[in-house]
Protein backbone atom coordinates (compact mmCIF):
# COMPACT_ATOMS: atom_id res chain seq x y z
CA UNK A 1 0.00 0.00 0.00
CA UNK A 2 1.26 3.43 -0.91
CA UNK A 3 0.10 6.52 0.91
CA UNK A 4 -0.02 10.04 -0.50
CA UNK A 5 -0.50 12.49 2.31
CA UNK A 6 0.62 15.60 4.11
CA UNK A 7 2.97 14.29 6.72
CA UNK A 8 3.68 16.27 9.87
CA UNK A 9 7.22 17.07 10.89
CA UNK A 10 7.86 15.68 14.34
CA UNK A 11 11.53 16.59 14.58
CA UNK A 12 14.31 18.04 12.49
CA UNK A 13 17.94 17.75 13.53
CA UNK A 14 21.22 18.68 11.95
CA UNK A 15 23.54 15.68 12.14
CA UNK A 16 26.59 17.08 10.39
CA UNK A 17 27.45 19.89 8.04
CA UNK A 18 24.69 19.75 5.41
CA UNK A 19 23.21 16.50 6.73
CA UNK A 20 19.80 16.52 8.35
CA UNK A 21 17.56 14.04 10.11
CA UNK A 22 13.85 14.52 9.64
CA UNK A 23 11.15 12.63 11.50
CA UNK A 24 7.74 12.53 9.87
CA UNK A 25 4.46 11.33 11.22
CA UNK A 26 2.75 9.46 8.40
CA UNK A 27 0.50 6.51 7.77
CA UNK A 28 3.07 5.30 5.28
CA UNK A 29 4.92 4.01 8.35
CA UNK A 30 2.56 1.05 8.60
CA UNK A 31 3.67 -0.35 5.28
CA UNK A 32 7.35 0.52 5.30
CA UNK A 33 10.25 -1.93 5.23
CA UNK A 34 13.98 -1.16 5.26
CA UNK A 35 15.44 -0.18 1.91
CA UNK A 36 12.27 1.47 0.71
CA UNK A 37 12.09 5.19 0.11
CA UNK A 38 9.53 7.95 0.22
CA UNK A 39 8.97 10.72 -2.27
CA UNK A 40 9.01 14.11 -0.61
CA UNK A 41 7.39 17.00 -2.45
CA UNK A 42 8.49 20.60 -2.29
CA UNK A 43 6.14 23.21 -0.89
CA UNK A 44 7.40 25.49 -3.67
CA UNK A 45 4.72 25.09 -6.32
CA UNK A 46 7.09 25.71 -9.21
CA UNK A 47 8.84 22.43 -8.29
CA UNK A 48 6.65 19.55 -9.27
CA UNK A 49 8.79 16.46 -9.05
CA UNK A 50 9.35 14.58 -5.83
CA UNK A 51 12.68 14.06 -4.10
CA UNK A 52 13.18 10.35 -3.37
CA UNK A 53 14.72 9.82 0.08
CA UNK A 54 15.44 6.47 1.71
CA UNK A 55 13.85 5.42 4.92
CA UNK A 56 16.37 5.47 7.74
CA UNK A 57 14.16 4.36 10.61
CA UNK A 58 10.65 3.04 11.02
CA UNK A 59 8.91 3.74 14.29
CA UNK A 60 5.56 1.97 14.25
CA UNK A 61 4.75 3.00 17.78
CA UNK A 62 4.81 6.70 16.96
CA UNK A 63 3.68 6.17 13.40
CA UNK A 64 6.82 7.99 12.25
CA UNK A 65 9.40 7.52 9.54
CA UNK A 66 12.84 8.99 9.84
CA UNK A 67 14.85 10.07 6.83
CA UNK A 68 18.39 11.43 6.73
CA UNK A 69 19.44 13.54 3.80
CA UNK A 70 22.21 15.70 2.48
CA UNK A 71 21.50 19.20 1.21
CA UNK A 72 22.50 19.22 -2.46
CA UNK A 73 19.97 21.51 -4.13
CA UNK A 74 16.89 23.62 -3.65
CA UNK A 75 14.59 20.77 -2.65
CA UNK A 76 16.79 19.41 0.08
CA UNK A 77 17.55 22.96 1.24
CA UNK A 78 13.82 23.49 1.69
CA UNK A 79 13.46 20.21 3.58
CA UNK A 80 16.31 21.18 5.89
CA UNK A 81 14.34 24.26 6.91
CA UNK A 82 11.25 22.34 7.98
CA UNK A 83 10.44 22.57 11.64
CA UNK A 84 8.38 20.49 14.02
CA UNK A 85 4.73 21.14 13.28
CA UNK A 86 5.26 21.97 9.61
CA UNK A 87 3.76 19.69 7.03
CA UNK A 88 5.13 18.27 3.84
CA UNK A 89 3.59 16.11 1.13
CA UNK A 90 4.93 12.63 0.75
CA UNK A 91 4.20 9.52 -1.23
CA UNK A 92 5.33 6.18 0.07
CA UNK A 93 6.63 3.80 0.97
CA UNK A 94 8.01 3.13 -2.50
CA UNK A 95 10.21 0.46 -3.98
CA UNK A 96 10.92 -3.09 -2.94
CA UNK A 97 13.22 -2.82 0.08
CA UNK A 98 15.95 -5.19 1.25
CA UNK A 99 15.03 -8.87 1.68
CA UNK A 100 16.03 -9.93 5.18
CA UNK A 101 18.36 -12.89 4.70
CA UNK A 102 21.30 -14.77 6.12
CA UNK A 103 22.82 -15.70 9.45
CA UNK A 104 25.64 -13.24 9.02
CA UNK A 105 25.24 -10.03 7.13
CA UNK A 106 27.41 -7.08 6.21
CA UNK A 107 25.67 -3.77 5.72
CA UNK A 108 27.74 -1.27 3.79
CA UNK A 109 26.93 2.40 3.54
CA UNK A 110 28.89 5.14 1.87
CA UNK A 111 28.20 8.79 2.72
CA UNK A 112 24.53 9.53 2.30
CA UNK A 113 24.14 5.79 1.60
CA UNK A 114 24.56 5.12 5.32
CA UNK A 115 21.02 6.06 6.48
CA UNK A 116 19.01 3.22 4.85
CA UNK A 117 21.36 0.73 6.52
CA UNK A 118 20.21 1.67 10.00
CA UNK A 119 16.70 0.23 9.87
CA UNK A 120 18.05 -2.73 7.92
CA UNK A 121 20.68 -3.47 10.58
CA UNK A 122 17.99 -3.29 13.23
CA UNK A 123 15.66 -5.66 11.47
CA UNK A 124 18.20 -8.26 10.36
CA UNK A 125 17.85 -11.37 12.49
CA UNK A 126 21.41 -12.67 12.19
CA UNK A 127 24.68 -11.05 13.21
CA UNK A 128 25.46 -7.79 11.50
CA UNK A 129 28.71 -6.06 10.65
CA UNK A 130 28.26 -2.46 9.63
CA UNK A 131 30.87 -0.91 7.38
CA UNK A 132 30.55 2.78 6.83
CA UNK A 133 32.49 5.15 4.66
CA UNK A 134 32.70 8.89 5.21
CA UNK A 135 34.63 11.79 3.75
CA UNK A 136 36.02 12.88 7.08
CA UNK A 137 35.35 12.69 10.80
CA UNK A 138 31.78 13.94 10.42
CA UNK A 139 30.52 10.44 11.17
CA UNK A 140 26.80 11.11 11.13
CA UNK A 141 24.65 8.19 12.30
CA UNK A 142 27.65 5.91 12.97
CA UNK A 143 27.02 5.92 16.72
CA UNK A 144 23.47 4.78 16.19
CA UNK A 145 24.69 1.52 14.67
CA UNK A 146 26.28 0.40 17.89
CA UNK A 147 23.10 -1.16 19.21
CA UNK A 148 22.06 -2.55 15.84
CA UNK A 149 25.31 -4.15 14.72
CA UNK A 150 27.76 -6.50 16.37
CA UNK A 151 30.65 -4.78 14.66
CA UNK A 152 30.98 -1.25 13.38
CA UNK A 153 33.83 -0.49 11.01
CA UNK A 154 34.55 3.01 9.76
CA UNK A 155 36.51 4.11 6.71
CA UNK A 156 37.25 7.74 5.92
CA UNK A 157 38.59 9.32 2.76
CA UNK A 158 40.91 11.55 4.72
CA UNK A 159 41.94 8.88 7.22
CA UNK A 160 40.78 10.93 10.16
CA UNK A 161 38.86 8.00 11.63
CA UNK A 162 39.19 4.26 11.08
CA UNK A 163 40.56 2.87 7.87
CA UNK A 164 42.12 5.43 5.56
CA UNK A 165 40.32 4.66 2.32
CA UNK A 166 37.07 3.27 1.03
CA UNK A 167 34.62 0.84 2.55
CA UNK A 168 36.07 -1.79 0.24
CA UNK A 169 39.52 -1.12 1.66
CA UNK A 170 38.00 -1.56 5.10
CA UNK A 171 36.31 -4.82 4.14
CA UNK A 172 39.54 -6.14 2.69
CA UNK A 173 41.58 -5.06 5.67
CA UNK A 174 39.15 -6.80 7.99
CA UNK A 175 38.78 -9.80 5.66
CA UNK A 176 35.05 -9.69 6.16
CA UNK A 177 32.90 -12.59 5.17
CA UNK A 178 29.17 -13.21 5.49
CA UNK A 179 26.17 -14.88 3.86
CA UNK A 180 24.93 -11.66 2.42
CA UNK A 181 26.05 -8.09 1.80
CA UNK A 182 23.72 -5.11 1.57
CA UNK A 183 25.14 -1.91 0.11
CA UNK A 184 24.05 1.65 -0.56
CA UNK A 185 26.26 4.48 -1.75
CA UNK A 186 27.80 6.04 -4.82
CA UNK A 187 28.10 3.88 -7.89
CA UNK A 188 31.88 3.38 -7.76
CA UNK A 189 31.46 2.12 -4.21
CA UNK A 190 28.68 -0.27 -5.21
CA UNK A 191 30.89 -1.53 -8.01
CA UNK A 192 33.72 -2.18 -5.55
CA UNK A 193 31.47 -3.90 -3.04
CA UNK A 194 29.89 -6.05 -5.75
CA UNK A 195 33.34 -7.03 -6.95
CA UNK A 196 34.38 -7.93 -3.39
CA UNK A 197 31.21 -10.00 -2.97
CA UNK A 198 31.81 -11.77 -6.25
CA UNK A 199 35.36 -12.63 -5.29
CA UNK A 200 34.29 -13.95 -1.91
CA UNK A 201 31.23 -15.68 -3.32
CA UNK A 202 28.84 -13.67 -1.15
CA UNK A 203 25.35 -12.78 -2.25
CA UNK A 204 25.11 -9.01 -2.60
CA UNK A 205 22.22 -6.56 -2.73
CA UNK A 206 22.77 -3.00 -3.91
CA UNK A 207 20.45 0.00 -3.68
CA UNK A 208 20.42 2.08 -6.86
CA UNK A 209 19.67 5.73 -7.58
CA UNK A 210 18.18 7.42 -10.61
CA UNK A 211 16.24 10.61 -11.44
CA UNK A 212 12.55 9.95 -11.00
CA UNK A 213 9.23 11.37 -12.01
CA UNK A 214 6.31 9.13 -10.99
CA UNK A 215 8.08 6.99 -8.39
CA UNK A 216 5.52 4.22 -8.90
CA UNK A 217 6.74 2.45 -12.03
CA UNK A 218 4.56 4.12 -14.63
CA UNK A 219 6.76 6.61 -16.48
CA UNK A 220 9.90 4.56 -17.15
CA UNK A 221 12.00 7.55 -16.22
CA UNK A 222 14.18 5.88 -13.63
CA UNK A 223 15.46 2.74 -15.28
CA UNK A 224 18.85 1.20 -14.70
CA UNK A 225 20.51 -1.21 -17.03
CA UNK A 226 19.79 -4.87 -16.39
CA UNK A 227 22.14 -7.69 -17.33
CA UNK A 228 19.28 -9.68 -18.82
CA UNK A 229 16.02 -8.84 -20.50
CA UNK A 230 13.67 -7.86 -17.72
CA UNK A 231 10.33 -9.56 -17.14
CA UNK A 232 8.39 -6.35 -17.00
CA UNK A 233 10.08 -4.14 -19.58
CA UNK A 234 11.05 -6.92 -21.99
CA UNK A 235 14.22 -4.99 -22.63
CA UNK A 236 17.41 -4.76 -20.56
CA UNK A 237 16.01 -2.08 -18.27
CA UNK A 238 14.71 -2.24 -14.74
CA UNK A 239 12.74 0.47 -12.96
CA UNK A 240 14.62 1.69 -9.91
CA UNK A 241 11.45 3.01 -8.28
CA UNK A 242 9.37 -0.14 -8.64
CA UNK A 243 11.61 -3.13 -9.40
CA UNK A 244 14.25 -1.60 -7.11
CA UNK A 245 15.83 0.39 -5.64
CA UNK A 246 17.32 -2.86 -4.29
CA UNK A 247 18.73 -5.29 -6.82
CA UNK A 248 21.03 -8.26 -6.72
CA UNK A 249 24.44 -6.95 -7.73
CA UNK A 250 24.46 -9.59 -10.45
CA UNK A 251 21.21 -8.37 -12.02
CA UNK A 252 22.26 -4.85 -12.92
CA UNK A 253 25.08 -3.04 -14.67
CA UNK A 254 27.06 -1.09 -12.10
Amino acid sequence: MKVKERATVVAQKKLAEGVFSLELETNATKYAVPGQFINIFSNDKSKLLPRPISICEINELNNTLRVVFRVVGEGTTEFSELQAGDTVEILGPLGNGFPLEGEKAIVVGGGIGVPPMLELAKQLKGSVTAVMGYRNDDLFLADEFIDAAADVIIATDDGSVGVHGTVVDAMKENELTADVIYACGPKPMLRGVAQYALEKGIKCYVSMEERMACGVGACLGCVCQAKEVDDHSHVKNKRVCKDGPVFLSTEVEL
Binding site: S46, M212, V216, A218
Partner: protein
Protein backbone atom coordinates in the same frame (compact mmCIF):
# COMPACT_ATOMS: atom_id res chain seq x y z
CA UNK B 1 -25.98 16.05 -15.56
CA UNK B 2 -24.37 14.48 -18.59
CA UNK B 3 -20.61 14.06 -18.76
CA UNK B 4 -20.60 11.65 -21.71
CA UNK B 5 -18.71 12.72 -24.80
CA UNK B 6 -18.46 10.93 -28.11
CA UNK B 7 -15.47 10.86 -30.41
CA UNK B 8 -15.74 9.07 -33.74
CA UNK B 9 -18.66 7.00 -32.52
CA UNK B 10 -16.91 5.91 -29.35
CA UNK B 11 -18.75 7.03 -26.26
CA UNK B 12 -16.68 7.97 -23.21
CA UNK B 13 -18.46 8.12 -19.86
CA UNK B 14 -16.61 11.37 -19.19
CA UNK B 15 -13.98 13.47 -20.96
CA UNK B 16 -11.10 12.55 -18.63
CA UNK B 17 -8.27 10.42 -19.96
CA UNK B 18 -4.71 10.25 -18.82
CA UNK B 19 -1.97 11.16 -21.25
CA UNK B 20 0.02 8.46 -22.96
CA UNK B 21 3.28 7.53 -21.29
CA UNK B 22 2.46 8.99 -17.93
CA UNK B 23 0.27 6.19 -16.68
CA UNK B 24 1.77 2.98 -18.09
CA UNK B 25 -1.27 0.90 -18.93
CA UNK B 26 -2.92 1.93 -15.71
CA UNK B 27 -1.58 -0.88 -13.57
CA UNK B 28 0.58 1.27 -11.31
CA UNK B 29 -2.01 3.98 -10.81
CA UNK B 30 -4.81 1.51 -10.16
CA UNK B 31 -3.60 1.64 -6.55
CA UNK B 32 -4.72 5.27 -6.44
CA UNK B 33 -7.63 5.63 -8.82
CA UNK B 34 -10.44 3.35 -9.89
CA UNK B 35 -9.64 3.05 -13.59
CA UNK B 36 -13.27 2.20 -14.19
CA UNK B 37 -14.16 5.80 -13.45
CA UNK B 38 -12.00 7.26 -16.21
CA UNK B 39 -13.27 8.20 -19.63
CA UNK B 40 -10.39 6.25 -21.06
CA UNK B 41 -7.03 4.74 -20.27
CA UNK B 42 -4.53 5.85 -22.88
CA UNK B 43 -1.60 3.49 -22.92
CA UNK B 44 2.10 4.20 -23.18
CA UNK B 45 3.28 4.20 -26.81
CA UNK B 46 3.65 0.68 -28.17
CA UNK B 47 5.77 -0.40 -31.14
CA UNK B 48 5.95 -3.53 -33.24
CA UNK B 49 8.91 -4.84 -31.22
CA UNK B 50 10.34 -3.96 -27.79
CA UNK B 51 12.20 -0.62 -27.67
CA UNK B 52 15.03 0.01 -25.23
CA UNK B 53 14.53 3.76 -25.03
CA UNK B 54 17.23 6.30 -24.21
CA UNK B 55 20.03 6.13 -21.66
CA UNK B 56 19.49 7.78 -18.27
CA UNK B 57 19.10 10.40 -16.88
CA UNK B 58 15.79 10.55 -18.69
CA UNK B 59 14.13 13.07 -16.40
CA UNK B 60 14.91 16.69 -15.57
CA UNK B 61 12.94 19.12 -13.50
CA UNK B 62 12.21 22.59 -14.85
CA UNK B 63 10.08 25.43 -13.48
CA UNK B 64 6.43 24.31 -13.35
CA UNK B 65 7.26 21.38 -15.55
CA UNK B 66 9.63 18.63 -16.48
CA UNK B 67 11.64 17.32 -19.37
CA UNK B 68 11.56 13.66 -20.32
CA UNK B 69 13.58 11.69 -22.76
CA UNK B 70 12.25 8.19 -22.21
CA UNK B 71 12.68 7.47 -25.87
CA UNK B 72 9.53 5.39 -26.09
CA UNK B 73 10.79 2.37 -24.19
CA UNK B 74 8.11 -0.29 -24.56
CA UNK B 75 7.81 -4.07 -24.45
CA UNK B 76 6.42 -4.40 -27.96
CA UNK B 77 2.89 -5.01 -29.14
CA UNK B 78 2.88 -8.77 -28.47
CA UNK B 79 3.56 -8.46 -24.74
CA UNK B 80 1.29 -5.44 -24.67
CA UNK B 81 -1.67 -7.47 -25.96
CA UNK B 82 -1.01 -10.43 -23.72
CA UNK B 83 -0.35 -8.52 -20.54
CA UNK B 84 -1.59 -4.94 -20.64
CA UNK B 85 -4.77 -5.45 -22.64
CA UNK B 86 -5.59 -8.46 -20.50
CA UNK B 87 -5.12 -6.38 -17.36
CA UNK B 88 -7.48 -3.75 -18.76
CA UNK B 89 -10.20 -6.38 -19.37
CA UNK B 90 -11.42 -5.84 -15.81
CA UNK B 91 -12.20 -2.15 -16.35
CA UNK B 92 -15.09 -2.28 -18.78
CA UNK B 93 -16.42 1.20 -18.08
CA UNK B 94 -13.27 2.94 -19.24
CA UNK B 95 -12.44 2.91 -22.91
CA UNK B 96 -8.97 1.90 -24.02
CA UNK B 97 -6.97 4.11 -26.36
CA UNK B 98 -3.73 2.55 -27.51
CA UNK B 99 -0.91 4.92 -28.33
CA UNK B 100 1.14 3.66 -31.27
CA UNK B 101 4.69 4.57 -32.18
CA UNK B 102 7.07 3.55 -34.90
CA UNK B 103 10.18 4.48 -36.83
CA UNK B 104 8.46 4.14 -40.19
CA UNK B 105 5.04 3.80 -41.75
CA UNK B 106 5.56 0.04 -41.90
CA UNK B 107 6.18 -0.18 -38.19
CA UNK B 108 3.06 1.82 -37.35
CA UNK B 109 1.04 -0.40 -39.65
CA UNK B 110 2.40 -3.58 -38.13
CA UNK B 111 1.15 -2.45 -34.73
CA UNK B 112 -2.18 -1.26 -36.08
CA UNK B 113 -2.72 -4.57 -37.86
CA UNK B 114 -1.84 -6.54 -34.76
CA UNK B 115 -4.37 -4.55 -32.73
CA UNK B 116 -7.12 -4.69 -35.36
CA UNK B 117 -8.97 -7.60 -33.82
CA UNK B 118 -8.31 -6.84 -30.17
CA UNK B 119 -11.76 -6.21 -28.77
CA UNK B 120 -10.48 -4.26 -25.78
CA UNK B 121 -9.00 -1.57 -28.03
CA UNK B 122 -11.54 1.19 -28.65
CA UNK B 123 -9.34 3.71 -30.36
CA UNK B 124 -5.81 4.22 -31.61
CA UNK B 125 -3.73 7.28 -30.94
CA UNK B 126 -0.93 7.59 -33.48
CA UNK B 127 2.07 9.34 -31.98
CA UNK B 128 3.77 11.14 -34.83
CA UNK B 129 5.25 13.69 -32.55
CA UNK B 130 7.55 12.17 -30.01
CA UNK B 131 10.63 14.38 -29.98
CA UNK B 132 12.89 11.70 -28.62
CA UNK B 133 13.07 9.36 -31.55
CA UNK B 134 15.62 10.39 -34.08
CA UNK B 135 14.72 7.94 -36.83
CA UNK B 136 11.14 9.01 -37.34
CA UNK B 137 8.83 10.38 -34.75
CA UNK B 138 8.99 14.09 -34.86
CA UNK B 139 9.93 14.33 -38.52
CA UNK B 140 6.50 12.93 -39.41
CA UNK B 141 4.74 15.39 -37.17
CA UNK B 142 6.50 18.46 -38.49
CA UNK B 143 5.76 18.02 -42.18
CA UNK B 144 2.14 18.34 -43.31
CA UNK B 145 2.64 16.03 -46.29
CA UNK B 146 4.07 13.35 -44.05
CA UNK B 147 1.22 13.82 -41.58
CA UNK B 148 -1.38 13.39 -44.28
CA UNK B 149 0.32 10.37 -45.77
CA UNK B 150 0.92 8.50 -42.55
CA UNK B 151 -2.65 9.24 -41.52
CA UNK B 152 -3.97 7.84 -44.79
CA UNK B 153 -1.83 4.71 -44.54
CA UNK B 154 -2.73 4.01 -40.93
CA UNK B 155 -6.40 4.74 -41.54
CA UNK B 156 -6.47 2.22 -44.38
CA UNK B 157 -5.33 -0.50 -41.98
CA UNK B 158 -7.00 0.47 -38.75
CA UNK B 159 -10.18 -1.22 -37.61
CA UNK B 160 -10.58 1.24 -34.74
CA UNK B 161 -10.99 5.01 -35.11
CA UNK B 162 -7.65 6.82 -35.24
CA UNK B 163 -6.53 9.91 -33.40
CA UNK B 164 -3.45 11.64 -34.76
CA UNK B 165 -1.31 13.09 -31.97
CA UNK B 166 0.27 16.33 -33.08
CA UNK B 167 3.57 17.94 -32.13
CA UNK B 168 3.55 21.52 -30.83
CA UNK B 169 7.05 22.07 -32.24
CA UNK B 170 5.69 23.56 -35.44
CA UNK B 171 5.21 26.97 -36.96
CA UNK B 172 1.52 26.50 -37.60
CA UNK B 173 -0.44 23.78 -35.80
CA UNK B 174 -3.48 24.47 -37.99
CA UNK B 175 -1.64 23.20 -41.04
CA UNK B 176 -0.87 19.93 -39.27
CA UNK B 177 -4.43 19.55 -38.05
CA UNK B 178 -5.74 20.08 -41.55
CA UNK B 179 -3.26 17.54 -42.92
CA UNK B 180 -4.44 14.94 -40.41
CA UNK B 181 -8.06 15.68 -41.27
CA UNK B 182 -7.31 15.44 -44.98
CA UNK B 183 -5.62 12.10 -44.41
CA UNK B 184 -8.79 10.76 -42.81
CA UNK B 185 -8.08 11.08 -39.11
CA UNK B 186 -11.13 10.57 -36.91
CA UNK B 187 -9.77 12.98 -34.33
CA UNK B 188 -6.60 14.77 -33.32
CA UNK B 189 -4.94 15.01 -29.95
CA UNK B 190 -2.53 17.71 -28.85
CA UNK B 191 -0.13 18.74 -27.55
CA UNK B 192 2.74 16.36 -27.26
CA UNK B 193 5.81 17.74 -25.52
CA UNK B 194 7.78 20.85 -26.50
CA UNK B 195 11.46 20.24 -27.06
CA UNK B 196 13.57 21.69 -24.28
CA UNK B 197 17.02 21.41 -22.76
CA UNK B 198 18.59 21.72 -19.36
CA UNK B 199 22.27 22.20 -18.59
CA UNK B 200 23.83 21.57 -15.19
CA UNK B 201 25.95 24.67 -14.61
CA UNK B 202 28.12 23.08 -11.93
CA UNK B 203 28.99 20.03 -14.00
CA UNK B 204 28.81 21.99 -17.25
CA UNK B 205 26.97 19.17 -18.96
CA UNK B 206 23.48 18.27 -20.11
CA UNK B 207 21.15 17.00 -17.41
CA UNK B 208 19.57 14.52 -19.81
CA UNK B 209 21.70 11.86 -21.45
CA UNK B 210 19.75 12.60 -24.63
CA UNK B 211 20.65 16.33 -24.35
CA UNK B 212 17.10 17.44 -25.24
CA UNK B 213 13.83 16.27 -23.75
CA UNK B 214 10.14 16.86 -24.12
CA UNK B 215 8.73 19.54 -21.86
CA UNK B 216 5.38 18.93 -20.17
CA UNK B 217 3.48 20.16 -17.15
CA UNK B 218 1.74 23.42 -16.22
CA UNK B 219 4.45 25.48 -17.94
CA UNK B 220 3.18 24.39 -21.37
CA UNK B 221 -0.54 24.81 -20.64
CA UNK B 222 -1.04 28.27 -22.21
CA UNK B 223 0.59 27.07 -25.42
CA UNK B 224 -1.59 23.97 -25.46
CA UNK B 225 -4.77 26.00 -24.94
CA UNK B 226 -3.80 28.32 -27.79
CA UNK B 227 -3.12 25.39 -30.12
CA UNK B 228 -6.32 23.57 -29.24
CA UNK B 229 -8.21 26.80 -29.85
CA UNK B 230 -6.54 27.29 -33.22
CA UNK B 231 -7.27 23.73 -34.32
CA UNK B 232 -10.87 23.87 -33.12
CA UNK B 233 -11.55 26.74 -35.47
CA UNK B 234 -9.80 24.97 -38.33
CA UNK B 235 -10.88 21.35 -38.45
CA UNK B 236 -14.23 19.73 -37.85
CA UNK B 237 -12.97 16.49 -36.33
CA UNK B 238 -12.95 16.31 -32.53
CA UNK B 239 -9.93 17.27 -30.45
CA UNK B 240 -8.47 15.63 -27.38
CA UNK B 241 -6.72 18.42 -25.53
CA UNK B 242 -3.75 18.04 -23.24
CA UNK B 243 -0.68 19.85 -22.01
CA UNK B 244 -0.18 20.89 -18.42
CA UNK B 245 -3.65 20.15 -17.15
CA UNK B 246 -3.39 19.83 -13.40
CA UNK B 247 -6.62 21.29 -12.04
CA UNK B 248 -10.26 21.17 -13.05
CA UNK B 249 -9.93 24.79 -14.15
CA UNK B 250 -7.24 23.78 -16.62
CA UNK B 251 -9.46 21.01 -17.96
CA UNK B 252 -12.49 23.25 -18.33
CA UNK B 253 -10.29 25.87 -19.99
CA UNK B 254 -9.20 23.30 -22.55
CA UNK B 255 -12.79 22.32 -23.28
CA UNK B 256 -13.91 25.93 -23.57
CA UNK B 257 -11.11 26.32 -26.12
CA UNK B 258 -12.52 23.47 -28.15
CA UNK B 259 -11.45 20.09 -26.78
CA UNK B 260 -14.05 17.32 -26.65
CA UNK B 261 -11.98 15.38 -24.14
CA UNK B 262 -8.83 16.06 -22.14
CA UNK B 263 -5.81 14.07 -21.07
CA UNK B 264 -3.90 14.44 -17.83
CA UNK B 265 -0.20 13.65 -17.96
CA UNK B 266 2.51 15.09 -15.76
CA UNK B 267 0.01 15.99 -13.03
CA UNK B 268 -0.30 12.29 -12.17
CA UNK B 269 3.32 12.35 -11.05
CA UNK B 270 2.69 14.81 -8.26
CA UNK B 271 -0.92 13.97 -7.65
CA UNK B 272 -1.71 10.30 -8.32
CA UNK B 273 -5.43 10.99 -8.06
CA UNK B 274 -5.27 13.99 -10.42
CA UNK B 275 -7.58 12.44 -13.01
CA UNK B 276 -10.48 11.83 -10.65
CA UNK B 277 -9.86 15.01 -8.65
CA UNK B 278 -10.21 16.93 -11.89
CA UNK B 279 -13.33 15.02 -12.88
CA UNK B 280 -14.93 15.86 -9.55
CA UNK B 281 -14.00 19.51 -9.87
CA UNK B 282 -15.53 19.62 -13.33
CA UNK B 283 -18.76 18.14 -12.06
CA UNK B 284 -18.96 20.71 -9.26
CA UNK B 285 -18.34 23.47 -11.80
CA UNK B 286 -21.16 22.15 -13.97
CA UNK B 287 -23.48 22.00 -11.02
CA UNK B 288 -22.57 25.47 -9.83
CA UNK B 289 -22.97 26.94 -13.28
CA UNK B 290 -26.10 24.96 -14.10
CA UNK B 291 -24.45 23.20 -17.03
CA UNK B 292 -26.58 20.15 -17.80
CA UNK B 293 -24.41 18.67 -20.50
CA UNK B 294 -20.62 18.93 -20.67
CA UNK B 295 -20.92 19.06 -24.44
CA UNK B 296 -22.51 22.48 -24.07
CA UNK B 297 -19.21 24.08 -23.11
CA UNK B 298 -17.01 22.62 -25.83
CA UNK B 299 -15.46 25.40 -27.87
CA UNK B 300 -17.89 28.09 -26.72
CA UNK B 301 -15.19 30.70 -26.08
CA UNK B 302 -14.50 32.17 -29.48
Amino acid sequence: MNTKVTIAGVEFQNPIMEASGTFGSGMEYSEFVDLNKLGAVVTKGVANVPWLGNPTPRIAEVKSGMLNAIGLQNPGVEVFCERDLKFLEQYKDAKVVVNVCGHSAEEYIEVVDRLADEKRVDMLEINISCPNVKEGGIAFGQDPKAVEEITRLVKAHAKQPIVMKLSPNVTDIKVMAKAAEAGGADAISLINTLTGMKIDVERQSFVLANKTGGMSGPAVHPIAVRMVYECASTVSIPIIGMGGISTWEDAIEMMLAGATAVSIGTANFYNPTATLDILNGMKEYMERKGIEDINDIIGIVK
